[in-house]
Symmetry: C2
């Protein structure tokens, strides 16, 4: 086990590796430093900072996906910037401002295509993953040519992209076998204002959250002919119209066995859903309004962070007993958590105190910590091997 002692020793140390060193890339990762438009490149074997990549523009709400060789990251910036960075050599290799305002992206199953979903002008743009050359454009028009904002874009098995149309209330599935000519399947009337979505880790179920009404839209990608259906009809802001400080992220929803742990909207609760019946089977009271609800890779623990003003805290649920087993206080502004692929440690970005922290998930001890400039999203290269990430 990596010791706490080692962790302290490594605090704030800038690693001595040269950027062109020959090394494996399976234990690398990037951390978005929002204040600076930069990325920290880190490694999770010794928990050290290897260096920075700078000049990436507006990185608020930025997210990333990885090439299948775990060497390159594709950054999706809120300013419409799509940037390909070489993590190994720590430099930008290609960058394009592909729209006025974008909200995330995905990489195809075979790693050859990168897709970006756009607010402004709407639609999805597809790029060659090697060069970032444009390959195709999906306008996402509805109701006689009106453009829709696109959200909740994910990759799915069969070299498909799946996404939701905020303005149209639709879910679209794009088959990319002929990349220049995507085959689109459109599902209308899924609900008002889908605002985000997730795909289950096996790539089978696509679930969109609805901002404009309660409930969730579920599409079974193994049975597209059945179309979308509504699940968890009470899920959402509800009739009481509670103040919602932050709509919870859907991307990190935790699957443990057949249980799905999801953040309640506006309530200090995590809900437990049975993924066979898609019904709620329990709820747990929590410290605040949950934002990310993420399962350790073995499914035994679920880690939860919270919206302001409770965002200095993380709570850990034991999925077998469905009980709260730990409350941690990393500091103000816990924005994101990322598990190492076999789950022994978890990385935490704490924005307001400008710290990056690593915790042992068995002992809950902090094993490493160092400065970061307003850190937000943390992305480890192991995501390259997982469906929907």
């Amino acid at each position: 086990m990596k010791s706490l002692f080692l962790g302290f020793l490594l605090m704030a140390c800038y690693a001595p590796l040269s950027a062109d060193e020959n090394r494996g890339t399976g234990d690398l990762g990037i951390v978005v430093e929002r204040a600076n438009g930069s990325l920290q490149v880190i490694e999770s074997s010794g928990n050290t900072l290897l260096g920075r990549i700078e000049g990436l523009g507006d990185l608020s709400h930025a997210s990333a996906v990885f090439s299948r060789d775990e060497r390159f990251a594709y950054l999706f910036g809120r300013d419409g910037g799509l940037t390909k960075v070489d993590i190994l050599q720590r430099k930008v290799v290609a960058r394009t401002i592909q729209s006025g305002n974008s909200i995330g992206g995905a990489i195809s199953q075979d790693g050859t295509l990168v897709a970006v979903s756009n607010y402004q002008p709407g639609g999805v743009r597809i790029f060659n993953a090697a060069t970032l050359a444009p390959v195709a454009e999906i306008p996402a028009e509805y109701g006689g040519g009106k453009p829709s904002k696109v959200v909740g874009l994910v990759d799915a098995p069969g070299n498909r992209f799946v996404f939701s149309l905020w303005d149209a209330g639709e879910i679209w599935v794009a088959e990319m076998n002929d990349p220049a000519k995507p085959v689109i399947h459109k599902y209308k009337g899924v609900g008002m204002q889908p605002y985000d979505a997730l795909i289950t880790p096996d790539g089978r179920y696509y679930i969109a959250g609805l901002y404009g009404e309660d409930g969730l839209a579920l599409l079974d990608l193994w049975n597209l002919d059945k179309g979308p259906r509504r699940i968890l009809g009470d899920y959402g802001k509800g009739q009481q119209k509670l103040p919602v400080y932050k709509m919870p992220h859907l991307e990190g929803w935790a699957v443990a066995g057949r249980q799905l742990f999801i953040p309640a909207v506006g309530r200090h609760q995590v809900l437990v859903v049975d993924t066979e019946t898609w019904r709620e089977v329990g709820r747990l009271d929590m410290h605040g309004q949950p934002v990310f609800v993420m399962s350790r890779p073995d499914g035994r623990q679920v880690w939860v962070n919270f919206a302001f003003p409770d965002n200095d805290t993380i709570q850990v649920i034991d999925t077998q007993s469905r009980k709260l087993i730990k409350t941690l206080q990393p500091g103000k502004g816990v924005l994101h958590m990322e598990f190492e692929p076999r789950g022994e440690e978890v990385w935490v970005s704490v924005r307001d105190i400008d710290r990056l922290q690593v915790y042992d998930t068995d002992s809950f001890e902090r094993v490493a910590e160092w400065p970061a400039m307003k850190p937000s999203g943390i992305f480890l290269t192991s995501r390259a091997h997982r469906i929907g990430l």
Copy 2:
């Protein structure tokens, strides 16, 4: 999609990359060439052979695990050899003959320890993953000091190793938090002659096959106090004592949702087991006696190869309909299959015709093929990120 044309173009081509090139390691893999005591180093983005590593001794039944940075592989040879190879630079970096006869190994969750299970002299030996220096020895003695052969060694969450004692009929769990002083939990009377084992992908259930009697021994690692129990009492060679050409491998058992697909012993069938009740819920008639029954990472397909004389064939099951959807004939001596991490392609070693083949799992087309010297086990570096592999 990687085209068939590209596949043919790449047939038998020896890649031009130099061994010290800076590159990612997430799409690399090794293929055991038994005849030659060598490994092919391959990459799965373009499906090419990058080079060979030679001088690895007796590689019959050899298996491998990977360092968490996906740069190094640890090879477990039947001759007791433990070899650490640098896949990136394609060379042996450390090698030790650690016993007279070994049967596989594992790497700890945190990547710091490598464990090897031995037939001769029995027991488990633990090595430092960086240097291969000995760290600890677990003798596996029973009945007043008799040594037992050890089989079915896997890693489990919580930095544990789990293994079975063939002679003793026991399952042991070793906690490695203080590596020099493993804490051992022993479970006796699990059944006669456990011969191999698997751990479910979430790292929760350890299941040992029994050679000396029917049924399987199941240990729930989340509830060790409950001890092992017997499941599938009819599973095994049965009262008819059918000729068994090859005991099926347990390692590759396929989990799809809550269904487990397992090879029948001695029968031309694959059994379907419900992982909540641990009861058989169906069986499918197959082309021969199944050896490996492996699920595509998304769980939608299960691929099966067979024992002699039917080992020229692969069959594919659709897990939703539980129907056979494809029969392929790669050639005589199909020994192993390995899925790419997001499941778009599968690698197949065909020993008797000295070929390595890659298939698209959607179209079932062969997309690449080249010569290999009696290829057997195929191991992609993405295993580094998975529990129990």
